[in-house]
Symmetry: C2
Subunit: 470 residues, 2 copies
């Protein structure tokens, strides 16, 4: 990037909102993804839609890549500036602009931390359900760009189900306002949904209006341990067959249970093959009925032990294990790769079993936890990026996991996004005509390819694997 | 269209599935929209995705327009073949293919009648919430293409919230499978949402997988009459402020109440300025609490009378009036134009008042009913298409209604679609850059413009009106 360009960018954002020392560029050269790193040319912190518009106009003229970045928690290298250019931060655009209690909406800037937004609306007895595990540090702008999921997805859906309006700066520098505080709007193509989850490749989101719902009054938590994956999977199916849609239905396999127990020493049964954490929210009577029914179902399907929390404090204790899963696993080896292969709910036990077999086959360490209710699993690979030979086996194992997920009617990513890491696998899910359609759309909106280039679209698609025999 | 082309099309669909007599072409020359009519060149009833693929390949080569048509209930001329070509029917593709009770999905062909689908899943204690008023005759394919709404939109959302997977024949004849039986999937752009509501302009939908939810156990209905629009609007706001999201919250104005009473003679209070029909569903205790609270709120906000149904039969009686609204109005004049200007919930009373003023200003007859909870109003204009002078005033009045809706943060169509009728007004909502973006997408997917040409994109945008003084 032409060094003379620092000047016009500085005049837009001001001296204090530009970072370009080597140390600063290094700090924004990676996100939460292992094995991806590249320095940007400049890091800018604009203060308004207008400043972003002016930045984009220069980038369009000079063909400079722009990478929007929230808190950098991305797990698919979606925010690594692999082709250099400008990293755009939203630390100066982190205000809650309006809570509209009559239309049940909140309007915010992209830099608001998701947990802060959640806490803010709950004080008003309102509820923003999407709860990605990173919500304590992730930004709502990042959540919208990635269409983030979370633990409550089964009952309440994901981020896209709550986005009502967006202000977007298009690659040509035009500012577009999409949607409104409307429950229904069919005026033209659903551009709003196209932008949500587009991972910064179609435009820069500068203002967000989200739908809220009333805060559920009551909540109950239970837990069940099983001697076999199949018993746990049957419990999940039976809960749904009983027409109960719990707010969360979380799963940990034996490897994860063991790692958590090593880490926390809270008395988890190390011999259990599977654990289900069950929660329901809503009005008190229904919550009580549902949690009782779920515990009874678990017992009927062969749970070796069950616990029902009798207070919020006890519920917190039960949840501690699941919450600590990633940290507990991450301390075991230098590198943690958290995946999110997702399958139809009916295929969970097949998928978990396949993951175990694949880990054995490639002699790598993979344990699985995740959201059982919505089939969104997190196979977590513990490895060491410095060991090239092992990393090759890891990559083969993960490719085979994606392959099996798709064979089972699933997808390569349920909530983390494609980024650059999974781009070579996207064609497995969408087919060549799906990729062509995406490329046509990308090219029609961002013909100069300045918006987060290298993401979603791979230079080369990985060869398809021979069909798995599991 | 070249007469020789009947032969290859006949060889695809078979002799009995092609219609091209003048009487048959006349039958498919219009839909439910007043004042739009044009004959197609041919009407085809394919039996499979493969047949549709073969039809599209010929159409692409010969640049023949294709208009997908369900039951022709479109209210925005979306299914009128205004540029000739082929009307595609789905009467041979009307099967329910699979109910998956474990993943809570149903897979159907596009020609299934929405009510049949709804009845089918309810027998299994499952629920498909979208309920457009036309559901007794409309097809699910039409609903998906239009992203249809309905009375339960406030609580349960609209069609797009339930579409999990689609098979689509693209304009180039490629067959694309999008989505899956997944609660979470972020693999690439949300092409599924782009297709839903695209009004047949991007591809032909040939198979649909929909999400289902458990059927609510209990349901209660109440009704309230008011002396002023503002009292009714305050009731709606207060219900939401009490954190109640009712399943339906329907509204009729004085004109509609009078028309229904003329028609049905069921003893509605002709002097009431507004009526609210309130329904809640869910578990029995919560439903009972909510309906009691809603009635109490209505009384507090000045309702002149309220009724709570004590049985399902009584509830049916209360609903009769609202259900008969359109029929009651339609019998008054030769032509009925049903609009669906939609505003944020907080702006309902302003919008209804503005509609009344606009009707007076242009000396036309417009009454309003609709979905108060989600701001989706149905101003209904009673007129006579043969009276050109009156029709000109009607068009001016409707244009001003769209204008006010947008000024109030609303949209020109909440659930009916843009079609050809509202295309000239779309730019008012999306702006020039929004239209440009839509055009870029359309052109990238359907460069030959064979998919329902003339819809969504107008040759000319209507001039903006001077701002309304209401």
């Amino acid at each position: 990037m032409d060094a003379n360009l620092a000047k016009p960018f500085t005049s837009i954002v001001g001296e204090s909102n530009i970072k370009n020392s080597q140390a600063q560029l290094l700090a924004y050269s990676y996100d939460a993804t292992a094995n991806f790193q590249a320095k940007p040319d400049m890091v800018l912190s604009p203060k308004s839609t207008e400043e972003i518009r002016d930045i984009v106009k220069i980038c369009s003229k000079e063909r400079i890549p722009i990478i929007s970045r929230g808190s950098g928690t991305n797990l698919a290298a979606g925010t690594v500036p692999t082709q250099g250019g400008i990293v755009l931060l939203f630390n100066n655009m982190n205000k809650i602009l309006e809570l509209d209690e009559e239309n049940l909406t909140i309007t915010v800037q992209p830099g608001v931390i998701t947990q802060d937004l959640s806490n803010f609306v709950e004080k008003h007895n309102l509820f923003y359900p999407p709860d990605p595990s990173s919500m304590k540090i992730s930004t709502i702008g990042g959540n919208v760009s990635e269409n983030s999921g979370g633990l409550r997805g089964l009952k309440y859906g994901v981020t896209k189900d709550y986005v009502k309006a967006l202000t977007v700066v298009l690659p040509n520098g035009e500012v577009l306002k999409l949607g409104g505080k409307l429950a229904k709007d069919v005026a033209g193509y659903d551009l709003l949904s196209l932008l949500v989850g587009s991972e910064g490749t179609l435009g820069i989101i500068t203002e967000i209006t989200l739908k809220l719902i009333p805060l559920p009054i009551s909540k109950k938590t239970g837990i069940a341990y099983f001697n076999s994956l199949e018993d746990a999977a049957r419990t999940v199916s039976s809960i749904i067959a009983h027409k109960i849609i719990p707010v969360t239905l979380e799963f940990m396999d034996k490897g994860t249970i063991g790692a958590v127990e090593d880490f926390m020493k809270i008395g988890l049964p190390r011999d259990a093959e599977a654990m289900l954490l069950m929660e329901q929210d809503g009005n008190a009577e229904q919550v009580e009925r549902d949690i009782q029914t779920m515990i009874a179902i678990a017992e009927k399907e062969g749970a070796t032990s069950t616990v029902m929390a009798s207070s919020d404090e006890e519920a917190e204790v039960l949840k501690t294990g699941r919450r600590a899963a990633l940290s507990a696993l991450a301390r075991k080896r230098p590198t943690t790769i958290l995946e999110d292969a997702t399958v139809p709910r009916s295929e969970i036990s097949k998928m978990v079993r396949a993951i175990q077999e694949i880990a054995e086959k490639y002699n790598v360490q993979i344990t699985t936890f995740g959201h059982a209710g919505d089939g969104n699993l997190h196979p977590t690979c513990l490895t060491d990026v410095r060991d090239k030979e092992e990393m090759e086996r890891v990559e083969q194992a993960l490719a085979e996991i994606f392959h099996v997920a798709i064979e089972l009617g699933g997808t390569i990513t349920g909530e983390h996004g494609v980024g650059e890491m999974k781009a070579p696998y996207l064609e497995w899910k969408l087919g060549e005509s799906g990729i062509d359609l995406m490329k046509a759309i990308k090219n029609s909106i961002d013909p100069l390819n300045i918006m987060n280039p290298g993401k979603l679209f791979a230079k080369e698609t990985k060869m398809r694997l021979v069909i798995h025999n599991g």
